[in-house]
Every structure is written in structure tokens, then in C-alpha cells.
């Protein structure tokens, strides 16, 4: 990507609701859209591109563009699970660089806390017939990743617990977070075992809400009053079961991270703040290793002893409390990862967790199931 054509994130807004029983999914999308546009200093009529994923009802953009009454010349609804909004930002940046649009709006919203309509099972999906009869839930799959990581690298439940502890230290300052109580390693280990070896506190919250982001070309970003956050690197990858050569301890982040860092021309050691998708503690640990923040297998040592806590550790992460403590709207944590990274780069995070001189940040998403089929998207942002 030519640096002169790099796109900017000019608007980012997270819905404050965690329980929204009186609002529809589309209303939540609309409130997020309005919030992000207002944040950018733009209006609905400025939008000429729209992106959404499977959390939007109907036929994605077709339904939402009609509902929001947008007039666009570019749209994309690639659904790769919870990391989709990060992919949409990458694709919006490409579309902007290619002259296809100027102002891209990306929304994510849902109300799994108030009422969840499960996506219908499609009997033509080829993997389903082999997995449906097998009794399992999402956490069971991630728990297998955790156990294999423990087996191969000696990772411990205590080390995984530190990830929740760090998130909770940040969440205490977020008035909207679902879990604001600071927890200890012992609290995590003594919480009920959900799927051995993962405890209840190794899991993210379930929340209503959502978020939206506005991406524009440089000329427009420079005309706005907000601090400028430039997208300098983006990588995406998908990993499945490799025809039976399943890899439980490594993710597609190996590829998405390498691409993003190469494009940005920076190293993991340059990153001042990292938003890491945190459906479970193990999701964070594997991503940090694969992104190159430590050697493979050393993630347990990297996250232990408060090293992810802002102001204390070497790698402050998820300073809003993340999915582990703050929100996981629509069961998809992608957009909130971007929004907190933008807050950090603008210097608008809570003062207690704001990283000093936060000039370079990373946001990383893991979509769907780490142990069966997942997507990884890595974005690197620079404050200008």
C-alpha cells in the first residue's frame, strides 16, 4: 500500500449499552453509525461505502443500506466471524486507495444478552455433518487449544488467569464495563470450571451493544478536527483443520501479523498498545505468540505478573477491559478492539489506563473457532 494513499480512521464510537432489551439490532447499528459519524464530524450524507457482517440482519448491506437510507457506491459484507470489522477496515482502506469510495462506514451490533436468534444451520455446510453430532460448545473447542498448549509448552492456568487479571485492572476504570471488579489469579482459578481447563473467568462476557468506525481518504481526514489515526498495516488469514493436520496451538495470526508488520515497516517491539481479541484467555495468549510479541510457547511468561497491565507491564492490552470484562456485543469482539486502539492513539483512553506517547497501536481479531476454523486479521495504526 502506498503510504500517501493510506486511509485514516476518523470516527470511532462504542455503544455504552450492555443490556438493550428495548432496542432492535438494527436500531443498535443505527445508533453506532450516528455515534461514529458525529465523532468524526461527518454526516450520514457523507457516507459512500458501507460494511457489515453476519450480525446485521437480512442480506447484510442490502438490508442495512435500505434501513439506514444510505447512498453508497461501494459495499462489502465479508463475514469471517468476530474479526470481520477489522477485515472491513482493511478492505475499506483498499477501496479508498483504489478510488472506489471516500467515506466508509462500518457497523457491528447485536443483542445476545437480551435475545439471541441463532443463525440457522445450513445442511449444505460440509463440515457440519461431522461436527454437529459431536457434543460440544464454543468453550470446549477453545479448552482443547488451552490443554494442548499446556501439554506442548508447559503453560499454566495461573498464567492464563493473568490475562483476565490484567483486563479486570483496566475494566475498573470503564463505567460501562460489565465486570468492573478487580480479580486475582486465585479468583480466576477458583471460579467454576466451565470446560476443563478453562474456568468461568477465562471466558468473555455476553453483552448487547455494538460499535462503528468511519474510514476516509487522507484529504478528508486532514480536513476534520479529530486527531488522525492512520492505517499503516493490514493482514488477514484464514486457518482450518488442514485436512486433518489440525494445529491447536498456533493460529492464522502468524500470517496476518507478518503481513501487517511488513506492510507497516515496524516490529512488535515498536507497538505501544495492543488490542487483542479476547473471547477467552487462551485466545489472547496464542495471538500474542503468533504476532511475534514473544517466541512460540513463551506466551505464558509474557502475560504473567501483570505484564499486560497499563502502567505496570511492558505490553498494555485491552485497556477498556476487553471482551473479558467490558463487552462482547453480538458475540463478536472485533469493532471494540479497534475503538479502544483509536482511543489510545488519540489520547482519549481513561487517564488511569492511557499509555504515554501512544504513537503506534495494533488491533487484532480472531473470528469463529480457534480449534476448527478461524480467521485472523491484524491492523497497525499510527498517530499522525
Amino acid at each position: 500500500m502506498h503510504r500517501d494513499k493510506n486511509a485514516y480512521i476518523v470516527g470511532a464510537w462504542e455503544h455504552p449499552a450492555r443490556k438493550a432489551p428495548d432496542k432492535s439490532v438494527v436500531r443498535l447499528h443505527a445508533e453506532c453509525a450516528a455515534g461514529a459519524l458525529a465523532d468524526a464530524g461527518l454526516t450520514k450524507d457523507d457516507v459512500d461505502a458501507y460494511f457489515c457482517a453476519g450480525d446485521a440482519p437480512g442480506l447484510g448491506p442490502l438490508t442495512m443500506i435500505d434501513f439506514l437510507n444510505l447512498k453508497v457506491r461501494h459495499c462489502d459484507s465479508t463475514d469471517i466471524g468476530g474479526s470481520a470489522p477489522l477485515l472491513h477496515i482493511a478492505h475499506a482502506a483498499q477501496a479508498i486507495a483504489g478510488g472506489k469510495c471516500n467515506v466508509a462506514l462500518i457497523t457491528l451490533a447485536g443483542r445476545p444478552h437480551s435475545g439471541w436468534i441463532a443463525p440457522e444451520l445450513n445442511p449444505t455446510q460440509p463440515d457440519m455433518m461431522w461436527e454437529m453430532p459431536v457434543r460440544h460448545t464454543t468453550v470446549d473447542i477453545y479448552a482443547m487449544c488451552a490443554r494442548r498448549h499446556m501439554h506442548e509448552y508447559g503453560t499454566t492456568s495461573e498464567q492464563l488467569a493473568w490475562i483476565k487479571v490484567a483486563a479486570s485492572h483496566h475494566a475498573q476504570y470503564n463505567p460501562h464495563a460489565m465486570l468492573r471488579k478487580v480479580v486475582t489469579v486465585e479468583d480466576v482459578l477458583s471460579s467454576p470450571m466451565v470446560s476443563d481447563p478453562l474456568h468461568r473467568l477465562d471466558c468473555c462476557v455476553t453483552s448487547d451493544g455494538g460499535g462503528a468506525v468511519v474510514v476516509t481518504r487522507p484529504e478528508i481526514a486532514k480536513s476534520l478536527k479529530r486527531p488522525r489515526v492512520k492505517v499503516i498495516g493490514a493482514g488477514e488469514a484464514v486457518q482450518g483443520q488442514f485436512a486433518g493436520a489440525v494445529e491447536l496451538t498456533a493460529s492464522a495470526a502468524r500470517q496476518s501479523g507478518a503481513i501487517a508488520f511488513a506492510e507497516a515497516g515496524v516490529e512488535p517491539s515498536d507497538v505501544r498498545y495492543a488490542s487483542i481479541y479476547d473471547s477467552f484467555t487462551i485466545t489472547v495468549l496464542i495471538a500474542l505468540e503468533d504476532l511475534g510479541f514473544c517466541e512460540k510457547g513463551m506466551g505464558g511468561r509474557l502475560v504473567a505478573d501483570g505484564n499486560l497491565i497499563s502502567g505496570i507491564g511492558r505490553l498494555p492490552f485491552n485497556t477498556d477491559g476487553g471482551g473479558l470484562c467490558s463487552s462482547h456485543p453480538a458475540r463478536r469482539g472485533g469493532i471494540t478492539k479497534v475503538i479502544e486502539a483509536v482511543r489510545q492513539l488519540r489520547g482519549e483512553a481513561h487517564p488511569a489506563v492511557q499509555v504515554k506517547d501512544c504513537t503506534l497501536a495494533l488491533a487484532h481479531g480472531t473470528g469463529m473457532l480457534l480449534g476448527t476454523r478461524h480467521s485472523s486479521v491484524t491492523l497497525i495504526f499510527e498517530r499522525e
Partner: protein, 126 residues
């Protein structure tokens, strides 16, 4: 359940389910690249050949990883099992005390009946 609507929509997998109905566990084998794979899909995921045979397997392997769900009255075990032929297969370990399981434990395919569909393969400790 591996409901009949799934099999109807993936007719290439019917021989697998016919085999389980006869109490046999079979794996797809590619005549072109001489490899087996999981899950069965009617096309070789290594070379895209459709020249596939079904080869009978003893269904033996060892636990690659597992989890024990403790949110239900009766805990259940999800596992990835590395079959002796190579592929790693998702399944439930349905017998024995979950507390005695470990990675590397030897297991074997057993069939459990379903209502309205063919029997499905699970794993039992050997």
C-alpha cells in the same frame, strides 16, 4: 445428529454412513496423491482429485487434546483424536472417568446409535 438432510446434501459421504450402519469405520483414500484425510468430503483436500476410495480403518488413535465440559449434570468429553492413519478427528470420548484421561491416551472408534440417522463414531478408551 448427522441428520439425513445433511447426508442428502452431501451425497458423496453416503458410503461412510452406509459403513457405519454396517458397524465399519472407513477413511477416504486418494488414488491420485495416495493420502488420507479428515473430514470426508468427496474431493481430496490435498490435490482436488475426486478419485477417492474408502478404506476400512480399525479406528484406533490417541488423544491429541481434550476438554471436559462441567456445566452439565453429567460431564462430557470433547477430544481431537490423532488416528493411526494420520488425520486428527473431532469426537466425544464416551466412556470412562474424564479424570483419568490424558493427552496420548489410546482410544478406539465405537458407534453410537442415533434417532433417525445412521450410527455416529465416538471414541472409547482402549
Amino acid at each position: 445428529m448427522a441428520g439425513t438432510e445433511f447426508i442428502e446434501n452431501s451425497p458423496e459421504t453416503k458410503p461412510f454412513w452406509d459403513a457405519t450402519a454396517a458397524g465399519l469405520f472407513v477413511l477416504p483414500w486418494c488414488r491420485q496423491c495416495q493420502r488420507t484425510h479428515w473430514y470426508p468430503r468427496g474431493v481430496c483436500p490435498y490435490c482436488l482429485s475426486t478419485a477417492l476410495d474408502w478404506r476400512e480403518s480399525p479406528g484406533e488413535g490417541e488423544i491429541h487434546s481434550f476438554s471436559v465440559n462441567r456445566m452439565r449434570k453429567e460431564p462430557y468429553v470433547l477430544a481431537y483424536v490423532a488416528l493411526s492413519e494420520g488425520p486428527i478427528m473431532l469426537g466425544n470420548v464416551v466412556d470412562g472417568d474424564p479424570a483419568t484421561l490424558s493427552i496420548g491416551r489410546k482410544v478406539k472408534v465405537v458407534f453410537k446409535p442415533t434417532s433417525g440417522g445412521p450410527p455416529i463414531p465416538f471414541f472409547a478408551v482402549r
